[in-house]
Symmetry: C2
Subunit: 287 residues, 2 copies
């Protein structure tokens, strides 16, 4: 693992590393913010998954999260959104919504993507192991994300409820099976057989959830992707049907940008910190 940059921020450190990923078979870059509390003790971690076209850096430079992470004593890990490199296949027309910058947090099974696009395993297993081995972090973790990364956070948390204490999302793709971005990605990474899509669809996974994980979603009412791509009604209808205590907030006037994320990231970090530090009385509950 090689350090790319080390910059002091809010009394802590904003770090950037590259390392060879076994599951993605390429070099991967990630960023991690270590709060000042790391000088004295282990801290819990929140994973942030970014959206289409992003790298590990968008959230780090634009969300203003370090202030809150330093206040609450949590580390924030930001992986990249796809494998990268000359050998990694991209969308054949270079579109923004598939391939590089658009790994969709799945394990691809379809040629030629299956060799490198194993972002699910990378985020769930390989990266957390590396983080725990390398940095002064405890075993406690939560996960959050935006848009495609909101889809990633929700699906990963719902499939790994033992690994995360809470999950949140900004403007997530709530049912990739039912939107153009998701249909394209799932068809090409997995197969045209939609039976293989269920395990990567938050609304489908919520139907079969057997544990209530604390879940917070913020969605801007003026988000231009709301109706065609994000479709929160799929998730809300399921949550209602199975009595899942999802906290969903429509934020009037907000769009899909990092200005929206910056406006509410403090509340998301506070939400996660309340579970990571055990000061909330609403722990995950068996259904």
């Amino acid at each position: 693992m090689e350090l790319i940059s080390d910059i002091k921020c809010f009394g802590g450190k904003q770090l950037r590393y590259k390392h060879q990923s076994v599951v993605n078979q390429c070099e991967m870059v990630f960023s991690i913010f270590l709060p000042p509390q790391c000088d004295e003790r282990l801290v819990p971690v929140i994973y942030w998954l970014s959206g289409l076209t992003c790298t590990d850096e968008n959230f780090v430079t634009k969300a203003g999260a370090q202030r809150y992470a330093a206040e609450h004593g949590v580390a924030i890990v930001c992986p990249d959104t796809s494998p990268r490199g000359n050998n990694v296949p991209d969308d054949k027309e270079g579109a923004y919504d598939f391939g590089l910058g658009a790994g969709f947090y799945v394990n691809a099974s379809q040629e030629p993507f299956n060799q490198h696009y194993q972002m699910y395993d990378y985020v769930v297993s390989e990266l957390p192991k590396l983080i725990r081995q390398t940095f002064p972090v405890s075993g406690k973790a939560s996960i959050m994300g935006h848009s495609m990364g909101g889809h990633g956070a929700l699906t990963i948390a719902l499939k790994n409820t033992e690994q995360y204490l809470s999950v949140s999302a900004f403007a997530p793709i709530c049912s990739p099976m039912h939107c153009p971005w998701g249909e394209k990605a799932l068809t090409n990474y997995l197969s045209s057989d939609i039976a293989s899509w269920f395990e990567y669809d938050a609304s489908e996974l919520l139907k079969v959830a057997n544990l209530y994980l604390p879940m917070l979603i913020d969605q801007g009412s003026d988000d231009s992707f709301l109706k065609e791509q994000l479709k929160p009604h799929y998730l809300l209808n399921v949550a209602d049907a199975v009595h899942y205590p999802l906290k969903y907030r429509e934020q009037p006037g907000y769009d899909h940008s990092y200005y929206f994320i910056a406006s509410f990231i403090g509340e998301h970090i506070q939400f996660h910190a309340s579970y990571l530090y055990g000061i909330s009385d609403k722990s995950p509950v068996l259904i």
Copy 2:
């Protein structure tokens, strides 16, 4: 004036406009954050001046200032760092430290720059007039900036003490007469006669200040430009000699980046708000 973008942020609005500048004889772009308090009343304004290579957008996307501006009820105006456009002359070798993105907040008197590079008049007169005519702002204003913009904020405030209630800077160029960036800019915008440089040198202006304006400066100890370009000892020596109550803080471990700015921008906005709202007992004092 034409609206470029209008994005909700922390309950307020992050706006971007373009307009034809009379003094710079070109189209100029600026950003303004209006806090939620604007719905009910006039708010004071803080002007932010950016550093070399920046546009109006760097501070807006990276500093995380909107949160604090919304808390304190202040607008923040971010002008560009130079005139722009096909007709605007640049550094003859396209260097980053002169010409486009490097207006140094002076009124150029030297050909060919004198036609467009009138950033001093733009920031001191033309832009504030436009802001007051267009937005729900009061007559109260403060000014702050970073690096070249720190030099801009200090020199502009020292020359216009009646116009600003307070001034602050992050890692300012403290004596452009005594550093490579400043010598190049002042020679080419003004002349090789250093007598013309004094009015754009914060350390020289501090020597003849006749009013104490509340002044806060933060400087990272690990700033790679500290010794060759920024040279705060020039300003500190003058402040000491003339008993100017400059609040100067060396911040250990911080560099020259926006991570440094983000870490302390909250304190700067609080500092200005205390004068803009008259809740500090340390008003400007006649010397």
